[in-house]
């Protein structure tokens, strides 16, 4: 009786289970790419508009803090001016030394500025979508950074006018990294959006809290020297063969508006 009455619904359940079974094998889903390409301009418009509304409310809420913030910014500005002068000297010295050592200057990245159009609608994963894809030369594996060379993720799916960037805090993400101060190498993995863990660090290395973790460039996909975060805690792996370190990401990647994709 139940089956006869609900045959239409049971067929739908069966078809959906079939779709899930096919998708489980990780096969590319053309429907997914099509939907994302069609919806990308709308998502972008909604995002820009809501960003404006959110910014307005943030501004209204922050009026009371403007005076103290302004005083702080004046102080920061003075410090930065002094620091800027010191860095100009250092840059000049760096150029001279590079010339003397016949080192090539650091390559500038070929960057593609992209707008974040959407985030994970379920709030379970750690990724976002951007408004550019294969038509702009964006391919899977490319690194996504924010303005000053801070690594936020990697392109994991690319469609013609849209791409998915998986954050470094996602558990499926793995980045070859090293500690800037000690040159200790390891692999940085995400911990379900809660932070980062650097593992496979040799016992011979000396790590300290506060050390900066950067990408090591090993593997070739992600360039060397991109900032990942700072070490907050150092410990041992369960088998005591390696050291592990908790790393605090430099940026909160859940609140990004624009990112840059490193094409070369």
């Amino acid at each position: 009786m139940f089956f006869r009455k609900n045959i239409k619904y049971l067929v739908i359940v069966f078809l959906l289970l079939l779709v899930i079974f096919v998708s489980l094998r990780g096969s590319d889903n053309p429907a997914k790419g099509f939907i994302l390409n069609v919806s990308s301009p709308f998502l972008k418009t909604f995002r820009i508009f809501s960003g404006g509304v959110s910014g307005f409310f943030e501004f209204m809420g922050s009026i009371g803090d403007l005076k103290s913030e302004n005083e702080k910014l004046v102080g920061d500005n003075q410090n930065l001016l002094a620091q800027n002068n010191r860095l100009k000297d250092a840059e000049k010295e760096n150029q001279d030394l590079r010339q003397q050592l016949k080192l090539a200057p650091r390559n500038d990245f070929d960057l593609e500025a992209s707008f974040v159009t959407a985030q994970d609608p379920q709030g379970l994963g750690s990724y976002f979508f951007i408004d550019k894809g294969e038509n702009f030369g964006i391919k899977t594996g490319m690194a996504a950074i924010v303005s000053n060379g801070i690594l936020v993720g990697q392109v994991t799916e690319s469609y013609s006018n849209s791409a998915k960037v998986t954050l470094i805090t996602d558990p499926s993400s793995a980045v070859n990294a090293e500690a800037q101060e000690s040159a200790a190498k390891g692999i940085v993995n995400g911990e379900y959006g809660l932070g980062l863990k650097m593992s496979m660090i040799s016992q011979a290395e000396v790590l300290s809290e506060g050390d900066t973790v950067i990408s090591s460039g090993l593997g070739g996909k992600i360039p060397r020297g991109l900032t990942i975060g700072k070490i907050s805690q150092v410990g041992q792996s369960p088998d005591k063969l390696f050291q592990v370190a908790s790393v605090v990401p430099t940026v909160d990647a859940t609140d990004l508006r624009t990112v840059f994709i490193i094409k070369k």
Partner: protein, 181 residues
Amino acid sequence: MKNLFLFLLCSAVIFLQFSVEGVFFSGRRIPDLVLALVITLVLAMGFKESLKWILFMGILVDAGSPSVFGTVTLAYFLIGWMVAGLINVSDIRSRKTFFLAIFAAAVLVFEIAKDMLIIASLNIQKNIFREPSGALLDIFSFDYLLKILYTIIAAYIIYYVFRRVSRSFFLEPVKLTKRDY
């Protein structure tokens, strides 16, 4: 007119879910407006009438979710079916307080069930088919509690707005019968 209204409503909710909510809520606290609308549609129009809109929204959400394609659609479909079953065994709209409590409980249970189905599909993908996947479900975390709370509040708002607006657009109120389910 009715179909156009429902199309615009479903599209607006999808865009809010994907694009706008992330600006106002942190990642793990994003309320599930689509679930709220699925329950609302079934309560207001019946499962049969809501079916195409549930599938439409499910497929769109599936396209941008970390889940295995089809899982979210299946979850929303089953939720819609179960809500219709709930109406069939008891007229939950008979008393206001009772309805509010049942409505909140339904959102709570179905949200957790849906997320568990998504996580289960990802674990199957990871452990059996060795495909990389990653998502976290911690139903005892503060973030998840807020997500549920926001979803319940959103569900109330969507339900009452929908009822008010549908009276103007649909001309005649839809009466549920056992045949609907």
